[in-house]
Symmetry: C2
Subunit: 298 residues, 2 copies
């Protein structure tokens, strides 16, 4: 509408990489429809896989419709940048939020496409591994993931129920899946003797993957989260010290600081950006070998 | 353990881009601990934001711990490829699944870090916009996202309740948030007169974002999903025709086919890959200008 569509921008700047993110993408019968995160979570079927078993369909507790589209868009832009470094050609990257949700359905979609079975929400439970779920201990919840017979045996010993290993209801992956409700009752009875924290310590030291189900304070103060600089600090000239999320992409040779610069003011970096783009375009024009661009970038 | 760590691989192949994905990354006190999707969903606090309001913490219905790590890893690798095209330098990309979950917490984490408020699961409801939720119509569920006063007015008219617009409980964004339970009761009473499908058609034509809450069959057969080739077909020499998920990253100049080749057999492409890598390294060695590598890739 403003005259910055792909066709006109590409004609003027053949090296430009142009990415659009919309609810449904630039093609297809829905291309002009509005969307929100909630809409694509619903249409994609994602909500039908999330929430309590037998309960209402539940939106995922984070805006995965927005976040997922941003991640796939970034990959598309980076792929186009890698190609442009060789050819000089710009590309249009067309991301639809609904497409991205379909791409994140994983076993729910594959299960349906391969068998016709319609999967449904299972609470915290894994569709094909038992026990792999959230369990209530004496005071709080924890997760336990005993993904094979060996880990299940270690778990049975750790909770003082070694007879589970030879119980015909629980002695194989398939038996445990079939009897997951009975096993959950027995496990929660056994776990009710100690706190979630005590059980997690015991399971982790025995080698059974387990964890507390943290809320934001425990997550933000977790020592591993701190060690990885995943909570960063910035000094904003107007708002003072703020804590924000760190960068999960750690690349050698690039400092991963726990301090981040504040967001720039409007147009604060404009001259620097224009200068850098000009230099990049000049450097590109001087490149004459087989990886030279067919067109200047700008 | 096998002698292919970053240090030895980098020394031998300075242009190699090396990515590791693990539960907790290559540094920090948890670096050697095992993890699963379930474990990082729990530790990160993500599960505390998901599921019914007041209900148990709920694992997200897809393995976002695995999927998220894969997406961030891909971005890290692509970023390193873009740099290597300029410098020839390889990089180590170090991805921890827990870090990636922290990076996907969005408003739940920011809300806690900025205000100290501990957010909790809200079912399908948005934390700050009302109505933006799943609602039950006569026969089935639908989602409705009326994100501002204008859309709420259109919604009120569409359900034949124009008096909502001047009702002091509902007449502003804050009032609706405060009275979200009362509004939900009134909306579901009004919606109970028609099917979800009828309401969705009415809302979409009035411009209010709304959608059916699909299960896998409706999602897989959706006309937009079909038009975007998000369900692709492959002919496997052993298993016959299979349907699989398509690619959500659409890039101009690259065909986006609804047919995909089958997965190769073990080592089927080995000679082609080795030949292509050799040619790439040779081309790189011949490049002598300012974007020439300091080291050969291989």
């Amino acid at each position: 509408r403003l005259g910055y569509g792909w066709d006109s921008a590409h004609a003027k700047y053949p090296g430009l990489i142009y990415c659009s993110i919309s609810g449904f993408g630039q093609t297809g019968p829905y291309k002009s429809l509005p969307a929100y995160d909630l809409v694509v979570q619903a249409l994609s079927g994602l909500m039908s896989l999330n929430g309590p078993e037998g309960g209402p369909p539940t939106r995922l507790g984070v805006s995965i419709g927005d976040l997922g589209a941003g991640l796939f868009a970034t990959i598309g832009i980076c792929a186009a940048l890698t190609e442009r470094a060789k050819t000089g050609e710009g590309r249009q990257v067309d991301i639809g939020m609904l497409d991205c949700m379909i791409a994140l359905l994983e076993n729910g979609l594959v299960r349906y496409l391969s068998s016709g079975e319609v999967p449904h929400a299972l609470g915290s439970r894994h569709p094909s591994i038992t026990p792999f779920d959230a369990f209530k201990a004496k005071d709080d919840w924890l997760v336990i993931g005993a993904a094979n017979d060996h880990l299940f045996g270690v778990l049975a010993d750790a909770v003082g129920q070694p007879q589970w290993k030879s119980d015909p209801r629980f002695c194989s992956v398939n038996a445990r899946l079939e009897n997951h409700l009975a096993l959950k009752v027995e496990m929660e009875t056994a776990l009710n003797t100690h706190s979630a924290q005590e059980w997690v310590a015991r399971f982790v030291s025995a080698g059974v993957p387990a964890a507390p189900i943290n809320h934001m304070p425990q997550a933000a103060e977790n020592p591993q989260v701190a060690a990885r600089n995943m909570i960063a600090t910035l000094q904003d000239p107007e708002m003072g010290e703020l804590k924000v999320c760190g960068n999960p992409i750690k690349i050698s040779g690039y400092p991963d600081s726990a301090q981040r610069p504040p967001a720039p003011n409007l147009d604060q970096h404009r001259p620097n950006i224009l200068r850098a783009l000009g230099e990049e375009a000049e450097a590109f024009k001087r490149t004459k070998v087989n990886r030279a661009p067919k067109h200047p970038i700008w």
